[in-house]
């Protein structure tokens, strides 16, 4: 928990949710995860808050008493506000409004959702290269500096070969979620023009070995036929 608080020290989130209890719980869970949280229940309040504060991410419920969350999202984007938005929606709405979600939202979660999932998704948005947590990626007891390209595991610091660090970076940006092998191949293409079909598994194998040997709490799992995911074993 302490780790997370440090991680999110300067991150400010806006929660737009009209259900008071859910807003309360989101606020308390996100605060405990180390984020500063503002919560509003109306579209108008959200507009006002967005105009005043630069938020690092927005959690947006679609059904609001004074308007449609998608409308608010569209207006934000029209004004050039590129803040990452995680939409909370009912499952039946996804099917009918998928177009709206695709254009405006960065990610969406179907209600009812687990709070840990909200936090994981928010972190994933913040871990994007331009995100608030995009420069120093943290997971479990490891931290990867995307600028300096060094990996800290507990107290030890090591520098990874380029391909391995590229793979780790992408796995860490999407920690807890599967990164398709094809995506990793695209990322490596610029580095390694002669990418053999076996290259990714070999790099992952080395990476796994290094993490394990140095007592990392995170693990890289293989999802055969799909890709890889990095999981914080302690989480």
């Amino acid at each position: 928990m302490l780790r997370d608080q440090q991680a999110g020290l300067n991150v400010r989130l806006l929660v737009v949710e009209d259900e008071v209890r859910i807003a309360e719980i989101l606020r308390s869970a996100l605060s405990r995860a180390g984020f500063a949280v503002d919560a509003v229940g109306l579209c108008d309040d959200a507009r006002a808050a967005l105009a005043v504060n630069p938020y690092d991410a927005v959690i947006l419920d679609l059904g609001l008493p004074d308007g449609d969350g998608l409308r608010l999202l569209k207006d934000m984007r029209a004004q050039g506000n590129a803040v990452p938005v995680l939409v909370l929606t009912a499952r039946d709405a996804v099917e009918h409004r998928v177009a709206g979600l695709d254009t405006g939202a960065d990610d969406y979660l179907i209600k009812p959702f687990a709070m840990s999932e909200v936090i994981a998704r928010i972190k994933a948005l913040l871990r994007r290269p331009e995100g608030a947590l995009g420069a120093l990626l943290k997971s479990g007891n490891i931290a990867f500096d995307t600028i300096g390209r060094d990996l800290r595991i507990g107290e030890t610091v090591l520098v990874l070969p380029r391909r391995e660090s590229a793979i780790l970076e992408h796995l860490m940006r999407r920690a807890g979620r599967v990164v398709p092998k094809t995506v990793l191949e695209e990322k490596l293409y610029g580095i390694d023009d002669e990418l053999g079909s076996n290259a990714i598994p070999v790099h992952v194998h080395h990476l796994r070995r290094k993490l394990m040997d140095r007592g990392a709490t995170v693990e890289i799992h293989t999802v055969r036929g799909v890709g890889y995911l990095l999981v914080d074993g302690d989480a």
Partner: protein, 455 residues
């Protein structure tokens, strides 16, 4: 076996009609035969009476005053000709025999009492010189010499004419009666059958009515008018049931919908509590409840609105995505997922969300039944099918149909899950014109297959 068979209207009518026809034709033929014999008897009586009167005409007093029978030659020849010719005897009122042919008959009647005006009948077996029995009558007739007692009899064989007439009647005419009745019975059975055919058709339609197909109504065309009130009453009852079902479904949908917010609150609140074993268990319980509510909503949605399956879906892509989405969850459950795709897109018509839902339900089901640290493999095949195979105990052959029914739970099933997941899968596949089935894999685990119709 007999009791239900006799409950058949068709059989009951046929049996009763057949009985009626058999009794009826027997009675008619019987009456006809009896009447024929009766008439023949009456005719014979009349003829014998006339004979007696005829004989009396030829009785006259002789020169010595004694009555004598003076038969014309022709008549005498007629009486005496054949061995079975008619016989007669004439006695005077004082009991003296006037004439008899043959003589033996005379000696018989000498012992008999005098006749009266009413004919008295007799049967004369074994008359001397005659081989046949004789039947006849005795009657008093007035004559020139006063009242006479005259007995006239005819050989039994002489009724042969009547017999042959009757025989002819039975052979030529009477057989028509049972035949006619048989035909009538046939016509009746055919009429019953053709009347009942629409009812059979209606019952076939009725058999297809179930909770999933409540909008069907029984057709009333071609039905016998006696049955129409029943059928229309049944249709009205179906209408009321359908309404009830709709209310029920709406209730389920609304209830599930309304449960989501409090569930989200409980879920979130639990995650904000300090972790301890009790909270851990509660989280598992709430996760189960979340899943159940989600499935109830899926079911309600499938019931309420026809699935739009007009889209174009790459099964390879949907299955790949489903595996990617569920792999972290499966890992948390201690199982791994693997995907084996086809080497090219597997394009089918359908609804990508529904297909994703179906695959997701199969994966969740497989993960729940697979032993820990085993792999669940999802395969998309070029023939338009998706397999989900596990290394669990498999599905017993006898459960392979029922497993797709709502709220059905196998004996071996762990206590989680409401038995809705596979029913949702089956309904989604039905909406796609395909089907879901389960078989046994090479390791004995279950292999669930979604089969889509080929485009």
């Amino acid at each position: 076996m007999t009791a239900p068979r006799l409950r058949s209207l068709q059989l009951r009518l046929a049996v009763q009609l057949a009985a009626l026809f058999i009794i009826g034709s027997a009675a008619i033929v019987g009456v006809l035969v009896w009447r024929a014999y009766d008439t023949a008897g009456t005719l014979a009586d009349r003829e014998l009476s006339l004979r007696a009167a005829d004989l009396a005409k030829y009785v006259a007093p002789a020169s010595d005053g004694t009555p004598r029978l003076a038969l014309p030659a022709a008549l005498r020849d007629a009486y005496g000709a054949a061995p079975d010719a008619d016989i007669f005897a004439v006695r005077a009122s004082d009991g003296r025999l006037i004439a008899a042919l043959p003589e033996a008959f005379g000696s018989v009647v000498e012992r008999w009492p005098a006749t009266t005006d009413d004919p008295s009948y007799f049967h004369l077996p074994g008359l001397a010189g005659k081989t046949q029995d004789y039947y006849g009558l005795g009657i008093s007739v007035d004559s020139a010499v006063g009242p006479l007692s005259i007995w006239v009899a005819r050989a039994a064989g002489a009724t042969a004419l009547v017999h042959s007439l009757l025989e002819e009647f039975v052979l030529d005419i009477a057989w028509v009666i049972p035949l006619f009745m048989l035909l009538a019975l046939g016509v009746a059975i055919l009429a019953i059958r053709s009347t009942l055919r629409p009812i059979r058709e209606v019952s076939e339609i009725a058999a297809s009515i179930g909770p999933g197909a409540t909008s069907i109504r029984l057709p009333q065309a071609n039905l016998p008018s006696e049955i129409v009130p029943l059928v229309s009453a049944v249709n009205r009852a179906l209408g009321r049931l359908e309404q009830g079902f709709a209310v029920q479904r709406q209730f389920t949908a609304n209830a599930a919908h309304e449960l989501r917010t409090p569930l989200a609150i409980i879920t979130g609140a639990l995650e904000n509590l300090e972790p301890n074993p009790e909270v851990g268990k509660l989280k598992v319980d709430v996760a189960r409840m979340n899943r159940l509510v989600e499935q109830l909503l899926s079911v309600a949605r499938l019931d309420a609105i026809a699935l739009d399956v007009s889209g174009t879906v790459d099964l390879n892509d949907v299955a790949h995505q489903a595996v990617a989405n569920l792999a972290p969850w499966a890992l948390a459950q201690g199982r791994t997922l693997a995907f084996a795709g086809a080497d090219r897109p597997v394009v089918v018509s359908g609804n990508a969300y529904a297909i994703d839902d179906a695959i997701r339900n199969l994966i969740e089901n497989a993960v729940a039944h697979a032993p820990p640290r085993t792999e669940v493999t999802i395969s998309a095949r070029a023939d338009g099918s998706v397999d989900v195979s596990d290394h669990g105990p498999g599905v017993p052959r006898e459960d392979r149909e029922r497993i797709f029914e709502r709220f059905w739970r196998g004996r071996a099933a762990p206590a989680h899950g409401a038995g809705l997941g596979l029913a949702i899968v089956a309904e989604i596949m039905k909406a796609h014109g395909g089907n879901a089935k389960v078989d046994t894999g090479p390791t004995g685990g279950a292999v669930f297959t979604l089969v889509f119709p080929v485009r």
